[in-house]
């Protein structure tokens, strides 16, 4: 472990600090300044141009009574919960790769998982959009070919959902009742390359002596996962959890592309980020949108704190 240098030495080597100046300038310019500008503008009635009027906390009061904004948190909560479950396939995939005996196969699987990363995110979104197409989409094609559509229609009759009908293609993104399920289905089988690599890194840092000890204790595959692997990659799981929550709370690109700027039929796919976008670019209320962003920031900060405070990692 390296020892910290003294203050005196650090001052003597001041030139070294110049090397981090470009990074600091870039971070401040592109990360902190826009955020500060958003905080500043949230106190104004501002439509994006030069003209703005100071209105104090009015935007914040309005946001607190904004039913669409509040409602959008429910949609977001559903998506956050569903995304928690979407972590599982990545963890399982990482464990399966890790347990492969052959290094060569491990390597090939890792490549297999990483390869889709080179496909631009937008292309993935478009492919999924195409999957959901009622007339030409793969999803409806699959349901029709397997006869699952008839089963869904039967269940619909039984439970009275009113979304699946005989002879009518399923309109995944234009039927309010199907919008949230569609957003949850999106990304199936939910194996994220980054997640798998992070968990793999965690798994590979587990010493072989731990496995040997587990085997001596008579642990089977499941017990090894339950008592050895999973607890020891909790740091990585927690990191993924934080990243996932932040991405779900901030993200609206998926909803914008699949459902449009109004949140789709019945506004069912409206998430806070999309509402922010809608207010700024459709209603021309940039100042108000900034105040929504501040609320969102506070919310994310709170959740991250809860996550750090209560999702404990005991090794």
């Amino acid at each position: 472990m390296s020892t910290p240098i003294s203050n005196r030495k650090a001052l003597l080597e001041w030139r070294l600090y110049l090397f981090i100046v470009p990074s600091i300038v870039l971070v401040v310019t592109f990360c902190y300044l826009p955020a500060l500008s958003a905080i500043y503008h949230s106190f104004f009635r501002w439509s994006g141009g030069d003209n703005k009027e100071f209105i104090g906390l009015k935007n914040f009061y309005d946001a607190m009574g904004d039913t669409v904004f509040i409602g959008s948190f429910w949609v977001m909560a559903i998506l956050v919960v569903s995304n928690l479950f979407k972590l599982i396939p990545s963890i399982l995939m990482a464990v399966l790769i890790h347990r492969l005996k052959s290094d060569r196969w491990q390597y090939l699987y890792r490549i297999g998982v990483v390869l889709p990363m080179i496909v631009p995110g937008l292309v993935t979104l478009f492919i999924w959009k195409f999957f959901f197409d009622p007339t030409q989409g793969a999803l409806n094609g699959f349901l029709d070919a397997t006869g699952l559509k008839s089963a869904l229609v039967g269940m619909d009759r039984l439970f009275g959902w009113g979304v699946f009908h005989e002879g009518i293609p399923i309109a995944w993104l234009s039927e309010p009742g199907l919008i949230i399920p569609s957003l949850i289905i999106w990304g199936f089988p939910w194996i994220g390359a980054v997640g798998v690599l992070i968990y793999l890194a965690g798994l590979q840092s587990i010493g072989s002596e731990v496995y040997e000890a587990a085997e001596l204790d008579g642990a089977g595959s499941w017990q090894k996962f339950r008592y050895v692997e999973f607890p020891l990659i909790m740091t990585q799981v927690r990191l993924s959890l934080v990243m996932l929550i932040i991405a779900t709370l901030q993200g609206f690109g998926l909803q914008l592309l699949l459902l449009g700027q109004d949140g789709g039929a019945g506004g069912r796919g409206m998430v806070p980020g999309l509402w922010m976008f809608n207010r700024a670019f459709l209603a021309g209320e940039f100042g108000y949108a900034c105040s929504l962003g501040i609320f969102l920031f506070a919310f994310i900060l709170g959740l991250t704190w809860i996550n750090n405070r209560y999702v404990r990692v005991d090794k």
Binding site: N51, K52, F54
Partner: protein, 298 residues
């Protein structure tokens, strides 16, 4: 002795001449310095004055913050120029970015000071008018009562002034577009109609009549509202409408109102004017059909 005396006399003369010459030279130097100073002061004053003109030009092109900076920076002006600078400062403060209540309040104080003294002439008129506008459009909530008082004051104290005349058109809007009973509105219409003889400037008269005409269309429950609307729109048109959108809308309105009133000749006249001048307006075909129907007596 005499020689000595003469010598002394010459010496005195010589000293006196030297003194006078010295004095004269000093005076010339002092005068030159003073003249250069004065010229320099004049130059600097001219520069400040030019700043003022540049500031007005910028303000007329929506470059308000830049204009305000110039108005604030132009120090050392005197008399009317200084008052003009203050007026410029006040009216630009209304829109200096970001707009704040503090700036509006500062503008109000400045405008009140300038409008208070009638000796300020045109500056007082401008200040009073924009003070009324401040109460009407910039204050939150609007102080329409204060605005009304000032508009009336302008009409009474500065008859015939184009800016003061503009008050009448504002009064029409403030008084009529309120959620009041029909009787009260009729009473207000009558009071506003009585302002007409006081107005002298063409633009003031035009906008007053335009607003009244449109108000009669809006509040069609008023007695003889269509006839009154036609009268006011025609009067406005006589004063000269120079904005094409307003002209096209006014001509169509006159045509439509006249058609409904059965004044077919008047309707046809305005339909024809519209068709001739606005061939590419999307109302063209509709008006053409209206005119055809009028001609065929339908």
């Amino acid at each position: 002795m005499k020689r000595n005396e003469r010598h002394m006399g010459l010496l005195r003369i010589s000293r006196a001449t030297e003194f006078i010459a010295g004095q004269m030279a000093a005076s010339v130097i002092v005068c030159t310095v003073l003249m250069i100073g004065a010229a320099h002061a004049g130059e600097s004053y001219k520069a400040e004055r030019a700043e003022l003109d540049a500031a007005w030009l910028e303000a007329s092109s929506f470059l308000v913050s830049e204009a305000n900076r110039r108005f604030v920076a132009a120090k050392g002006l005197m008399g009317t120029d200084e008052l003009e600078r203050e007026l410029g400062d006040a009216v630009t403060l209304l829109n200096v970015q970001p707009r704040t209540r503090g700036n509006i309040e500062k503008a109000r104080i400045k405008l009140e000071r300038l409008s208070g003294n009638r000796d300020n002439g045109e500056i007082a008129i401008f200040a009073t008018y924009f003070l009324a506008r401040l109460h009407e459009m910039h204050a939150q909530p609007p102080r329409l009562k204060d605005a009304r008082t000032l508009y009336h004051r302008l009409l009474e104290e500065y008859p015939g002034n184009p800016i003061a005349d503009r008050s009448a058109s504002s009064l029409v809007l403030i008084d009529l577009y309120e959620n009041i009973s029909s009787e009260e509105r009729a009473r207000r219409f009558a009071a506003l109609e009585s302002l007409a003889p006081r107005l002298q400037s063409p633009s003031g008269k035009r906008d007053y009549h335009l607003n009244l005409g449109n108000a009669y269309i809006q509040f069609s429950e008023m007695e003889r509202s269509r006839a009154r609307a036609i009268f006011h729109l025609l009067t406005a048109e006589k004063e000269g409408i120079t904005r094409w959108q307003t002209e096209a809308a006014t001509w169509v309105s006159i045509g439509e109102l006249a058609r409904v009133e059965g004044r077919n000749e008047l309707a046809a006249e305005y339909y024809k004017k519209f068709l001739a001048k606005y061939p590419r307006d999307n109302r063209h075909y509709t008006i053409k059909k209206r005119l055809e129907a009028l001609s065929s007596g339908d």
